[in-house]
């Protein structure tokens, strides 16, 4: 399992539901040793120690009752959530009532068991283990500008851009290509993608597949030349990843590079593109003024 995961149970010790929540967490780390257990009390008092783990991983949140203390602990953070577990809903789903005594009875144990198995099953089925080409794209440093209520991000390094707002991220002799945050915002909700055929030879600035929204259809104009060696098939099911995570999960195609050092001369780096993008945005704003 290549994506880090952690589990945060609530700390309800005054209700059997809370005890079930904690038992599920303990069973999870038994079944999945790589999973980190986050202690809700420590997280609440001083969470520097958890800073890095939380930043890098997705979290399973387990709330014992409606007060949802575990959710509240994580709510303020911009935390990636893998799954939310709500014990009362699970008890209804499995039709097992944990009873009221705080020392878990046989039913309580069975319920905790069933829930943890379901989470593990879902874990296996989710993208974490599927052999889809999960691109290991780490966190990245980015420039950011806010226009009205939209953020426009541009990674600071290792991404290069053409003036058609598409990027290439070289890695040895291969590279990923995709569209910029600015372009995904302008096209709005992407509904369909046409991925190129693996094996196609392309030149710099050739169009390589396309993506449709209600507003428009646009081609991805390749910033570099090479041969397509893989495409992000998950975009068929999840075209919205191009909107939500255009530089990582929303990658479009992977190429084996041909002469990147020549292509590179016609491209901009992060800071160059950030400047270019800001100019385009101001030009569009002036244009809007002109039109009203």
């Amino acid at each position: 399992m290549d994506k880090k995961l952690c589990v945060l149970p609530c700390n309800g010790i005054d209700k059997s539901l809370g005890v079930v929540a904690r038992t599920v967490a303990l069973k999870l780390i038994e079944l999945e040793p790589e999973m980190n257990l986050i202690c809700p009390v420590l997280l609440n008092t001083n969470d520097e120690r958890y800073e890095t783990i939380l930043k890098e991983s997705n979290i399973v949140i387990i709330d014992g009752c409606m007060t949802r203390c575990a959710t509240k602990l994580v709510d303020e953070r911009n935390q990636k959530i893998f799954k939310r577990i709500f014990i009362p809903a699970m008890s209804k789903q499995f039709k097992i009532k944990p009873g009221t005594n705080l020392e878990l009875n046989e039913n309580g144990q069975k319920l905790a068991e069933k829930i943890s198995i379901e989470i593990i099953k879902e874990l296996k089925a989710s993208e974490y283990d599927e052999i889809s080409i999960e691109k290991k794209l780490e966190e990245f440093d980015f420039y950011e500008i806010t226009v009205d209520k939209y953020y426009f991000q541009v990674p600071k390094n290792s991404y290069f851009f053409n003036e058609n707002d598409c990027w290439v991220k070289p890695n040895g002799n291969t590279a990923l290509i995709g569209i910029s945050d600015y372009l995904q915002n302008r096209v709005s909700d992407i509904m369909f993608v046409e991925l190129p055929k693996v094996g196609t030879e392309i030149e710099q600035f050739d169009d390589v597949g396309s993506f449709d929204s209600v507003k428009t259809v646009l081609d991805l104009i390749s910033p570099c030349s090479g041969r397509i060696i893989s495409v992000n098939k998950d975009l068929k099911e999840h075209p919205e990843w191009m909107n939500q995570d255009p530089y990582r999960k929303g990658w479009f195609a992977e190429l084996e590079l041909k002469n990147f050092d020549e292509d590179w001369e016609l491209l901009m780096d992060g800071s160059g593109y950030f400047k270019y993008m800001k100019e385009t945005i101001t030009k569009e704003k002036e244009e809007m003024d002109f039109k009203n």
Partner: protein, 139 residues
Amino acid sequence: MKKKVGIIACSGEKLLGGTLSRAAARIVVKKLKPHDTIVLCQPLFAAGGLERHGGQQERDFAKEHPTITIEGCEELCSKIAVERYSGPVAATIRVDEIMKAHPELKPKSREDLGKDGLKLAEIIAEEIAKKVDELHKQR
């Protein structure tokens, strides 16, 4: 540079007032004050920072910019949401009051405003535009 004003329509789906508040918001943002206003979505305030493009933007925007809420009924859902997640609201427009002030205009239904409804939406939109101008004068 004048600060943009956030318009939050209650857009309640059950009542005619919701349809009117939504229509008025669009008229303001698309026609009357396209450069000075932006629409914010009320449920997004609570949905908060889900995905990266989540409501965090609504909350942040409403903290730094003046906001006007358009309420379709007495529940004041937009005002409450903005005040809970961002801060005080600069102005609140009550669609139901404006409807009472124009008995001659009878909108058809929540599904279809009809001619009268659209005229009413225009009147509400003008009311909002006036408030936007007032806010910019105060700046």
